[in-house]
Amino acid sequence: MSALLEVRDLVKTYGEGEAETRVLRGLDLRLDSAELVALLGPSGSGKSTLLTILGTLMRPTSGEHEMLGEDLTRAGDRELTEFRNRHIGFVFQFHHLLPDFTALENVIFPLSVQLGRETKAARERGRELLARVGLEHRMDYLATKLSGGQKQRVAIARALMNQPELVLADEPTGNLDRESAMQVMELIGEINRNEKTTFLISTHDEKIAEICSRQIRVVDGLTQ
């Protein structure tokens, strides 16, 4: 089975000289299609840095980074932006919705920015996704008018808009109460099973990690 994503000997350092901090120290990781993987580790272990590099938002200092057979370490900024838009979805701890936009407008943003306009088909898919996360009655609400759990569900719908092969979720339940957190995880699990989308979920919560099919621990910049 070919890997969806593979990184080898990944190194990331911040600063130079005496101030240099090595966050990732030759990390290896492989993700296959339709996996639901938890990324565990203490604060400062390099989880967020790893997610940022896997999401093509940051370049590693050295190492190899491949996804869908493409060598992303050699791609330019424009190619990475386009790749990210088409193949990777993000769910952040603080949801990061666009506050002046409605729930539906937030969801269809990734496709609209790709096409350069809002299409009828995009709106239709946006409505379907919002209905799927249980927010069909909140489509035209401004993002600022939604509760924390609702915002996170909108963020999940947005992450799925372009039918990405990989969704990276950084503490997606970290800012939610237990009930909302479990609802969000159930939703992620359902999408993973039905759409075969791979999820890599960074979390401190062992209970959340147990829901996932595989756990990867990052300690001192290396996977265990």
Partner: protein, 401 residues
């Protein structure tokens, strides 16, 4: 492009108060620009109208009859030429040239004239006069004597004269009374005062007298030909090229009004430069205002810009969003400012009809299109710096916030 426009519009409408203030600021700048254009342009029209309104735009005379030099120009000899002064220069073949001149599209009216000097005598009072012989149906062709008439009429018979009010006052004559006119050719004729005018130019009101062309022929011993042809143009700014064309086509000396009014033109140029400086400052204010407001917006929206970049928005898209905001602010502010400027200028009469002491603003010279275009371009240029700053926002730095 369309999606960038939508986001730009959403950002502008999301904070209506701030956007409204920004557009109002731009509109005020455009209003100042337009008002200054109308004022400077109106002042120019007013001054030119007042200065050139009663004189010819082009004067055609016989060429000077300087003797031809027999020495080649590069011989290196110093040559003194004596200009012929023994004979009054005259246009002997005016009738041949006149149709050619009148056929020019820029020419509004022509006036054939015989000019000379003399003395007006009444009793013991003598006053020097500048006499102009004109065609009887064209007394008001160059200076609007009809409009300036204080008493009598502009009807000129063979033995009548129209004179300035100061001259009439000095001589103590009124309409219907007789004066004697003695020309510099020693010809004397009694003339009945048929009209008295006041142009408001002391030199003209104290020295000018108009007689018929046939009376002037007798007074100045000129049985044929004329002294000059005075021309009024439909657009006085065309005087230099029209004069050049007449000179080239007729071989006569054609002088535009601009040659004798270089001080006025210098003044108008200085006035236009001052106006341009004020307009430039208005534009600079607009550019600085738009740039600072958009820079502030860039800073405030850093997290959103980061999220857009993370969701796959390119740097070009972010630049497009902010430049479009600048363009919309410039265009909207420009249109509102131009509309307000036009509405504010509309009640003012055009400078040609401005009452004495009135503000000579010219609603036709508001440069509305230029103001809107320059403002839109200025606002776009002003938005480039904030847009580039926005495009450089690192999504990683804001996602963790």
């Amino acid at each position: 492009m369309l999606y960038g426009l939508k986001i730009a519009l959403r950002y502008l409408t999301a904070n209506k108060g701030q956007t409204g203030l920004l557009i109002a600021g731009v509109a005020v700048g455009v209003f100042v620009f337009i008002f200054m254009s109308a004022l400077i342009g109106g002042l120019a029209v007013f001054l030119v109208q007042r200065t050139v309104g009663d004189i010819a735009h082009v004067t055609v005379e016989a060429p000077s009859r300087d003797p031809a030099s027999l020495l080649p120009p590069d011989v290196g000899a110093l040559v003194a030429e004596q200009r012929a002064t023994n004979q009054r220069q005259q246009l002997r073949t005016a009738d041949a040239f006149l149709p050619l001149i009148e056929a020019l599209p820029e020419v509004a009216v022509t006036s054939q004239q015989i000019v000379g000097n003399g003395f007006m005598v009444r009793g013991v009072v003598t006053a020097p006069v500048s006499v102009t012989g004109v065609e009887t149906d064209k007394v008001s062709a160059i200076a609007d004597i009809e409009k300036a008439l204080q008493d009598g009429s502009t009807d000129l018979a063979n033995s009548s004269v129209i004179m300035g009010s100061t001259l009439a006052s000095d001589l103590g004559v009124s309409v219907g009374q007789v004066v004697r006119l003695q020309s510099d050719q020693d010809v004397e004729r009694p003339l009945v005062v048929s009209g008295i005018f006041e142009l408001g130019v002391e030199a003209l009101d104290a020295r000018s007298a108009f007689v018929s062309l046939s009376t002037a022929r007798t007074l100045f011993n000129l049985p044929q030909g004329i002294s000059r042809i005075e021309i009024k143009l439909s657009d006085l700014n065309q005087a230099p090229p029209v004069a050049r064309r007449i000179a080239n086509e007729t071989g006569l000396k054609a002088t535009p009004w601009t040659e004798g009014n270089s001080q006025l033109l210098d003044g108008l140029r200085a006035q236009a430069n001052s106006g341009n400086l004020i307009k430039a400052f208005a534009l600079i204010t607009i550019v600085i205002g738009v740039a600072s407001a958009l820079l502030l917006s860039t800073y405030r929206r850093r997290p959103e810009i980061g999220i857009m970049r993370a969701m796959g928005a390119s740097r070009g898209f972010v630049i497009l969003v902010f430049v479009t905001q600048g363009a919309l602010i410039g265009l909207l502010g420009g249109l509102i400012g131009a509309g307000l400027g036009y509405a504010a200028l509309l009640p003012f009469p055009v400078p040609e009809l401005a009452p004495p002491g009135g503000l000579p603003v010219d609603v036709r010279q508001g440069a509305y299109g230029l103001a809107i275009s320059l403002t839109a371009i200025g606002a776009i240029l002003a938005s480039i710096l904030p847009a580039r700053a926005a495009a450089r926002v690192d999504p990683v730095s804001v996602i963790g916030q």
